[in-house]
Amino acid sequence: MTGSLWGTATRRLLANSGARVSLGIIVTLAMLAVIGPWLNPNRAETLDWSHIAADPGIAHAHWFGTDRLGRDLYVRTLTGARVSMIVGLVASAVSLSIGLMYGAIAGYVGGRTDDVMMRIVEILGGLPLIFFVIFLTVVFGRNEYLLFGSIGAVGWLTLARIVRGQTLSIRRQEYIEAAIASGAGTARIICKHVLPNVIGPVIVYATLTVPQIILLESFLSFLGLGIQEPRASLGTLIAEGAGEMEAAPWILLAPGVFLTTLLVCLNIFGDRLRDAFDAGMRR
């Protein structure tokens, strides 16, 4: 049954031109971010004193131009994109893990535990959490791992709700009852039986949190709270470019266009994926 659900959804997804195009662009951008920097002789952190704030072009080796310090923007944009994408994936994984555990426990245990846990999610959802992320990044210094953690810790609320909903829908099924009857403990049932069965649909929803998290990371880096010099992410590059807009607009354009394209495609793909799955599940 699972196989056919995935099969139908995949076919439906690939039949959609928006989904195909956006997926193609995402894959291209990801590959550019991974192998692109090696296609150029420059390195992200070396300064080229003979080309300070150079125009983009193919006359010299700096295809996208250089910044005020003579660092190559092609390589910096792509390595920055790599950082942004990694943060997006890792922080989404953090959100997904927290959301899965939290939602599965609330949904499976039920009763008063469920009420309290979901009430907490509701309260947290009403708070200005972005300010707490800003706080956390200020308080705990500019540590990249904590950045992953604090961003991920904000994104799990919606996922927890979805997991709980899914868990409620399978809680009374026979295989769960069989597990209870054969004496399995709550923790074991949640890990062995509930999680594997809710994870599919939940991952679909999680694809929509990836662009949100990339956005949040860029936002924090833009404010100077995320990735620190000399390393760069798309957010720090855009902040740099926004300051040099008048004299050297290309510093802004490359990371700005990259981030815009990536976010738009991730959103379109996530939407289409969810639509394909929703339609598949109704059958």
Binding site: I123, G126, L127, P128, I130, F131, F132, I134, F135, L136, V138, V139, G141, P211, L215, S218, F219, F222, L223, G224, L225, G235, I238, A239, G241, A242, M245, E246, P249, L252, L253, G256, L259, T260, L263, V264, L266, N267, I268, D271
Partner: protein, 308 residues
Amino acid sequence: MLRYFLKRLGGAIPTLFIIVTVSFLLIRIAPGGPFDQEKSLPPEILANLESAYGLDQPLWVQYARYLRSLLHGDFGPSFRYRDFTVTELIGQGLPVTAEIGITALILALTLGILAGVFAALRQDRPADYTVMTLAVAGIAVPPFVVLPLLGLLFGIRVRWLPVAGWEPGSIRHLILPIVALTLPPLAYVARLTRASFLDVLQRPFIRTAFSMGLPLRIVILRHALRPALIPVAGYLAPAVASIMTGSLVVESIAGLPGVGRYLVQGALNRDYTLVLGMVILYSVVLIGMGLVVDLLYAWLDPRVRFER
């Protein structure tokens, strides 16, 4: 209705209290203090400064003092802007932030609802696809990317509008920041409205309205719009949050003297009172929006009114 509202208002106070307490503790746990940047301060002077601001007291005494001054409506003196109190700083910046924020909110709601209804009425036709594709782009692209790009286009290429800067009473300086802040919530409202409008059009009472021979305009305005706006009302608080976080960066890019910069600067400078003042300001606005949403629900959806 009034009782329900008062109950929600009462529920907001403990929430605010928790926010203040957690923020107070977090910012105090942070290493460093407000007087770190003045290098080689003689220890006597540092001690004097700290005792003048009450920082030499135990933490709980400082917390109790802070809460007491809050109850008197006093946010305390700023640690970094020496001659100003936090109330004065916020009082100076807030009109600018509120002006662009409220304008952005109103624009996002009106244009978003219009675009959503327009797309819904042309469902699955090119106009619908165009609006919805633009909406995805609007949601995906954040203000801190849009604003510099708009500045590049309208400020540097064609020089119609100033890229940055501010003059009292000048609207030209506010146009680009407002546009950048408006786009994401505008796109989201358009999508929400389209989806819920299509949903409402399927309902029996709309079919009845049409079968009574009412013209389209009347059916939309009198019957379909109000129930279709319920999800939009629910999005109001997130919309305000998105505009407020957007204004943190938009004001700094556009060089506007709003309050946005105080949150991050204050946190980095360990300007304890300023940060807490900003957190309280933002929380009060958001919680207040939550209450407004409750009232709107009751107005839009009669079932809510009769339930309680």
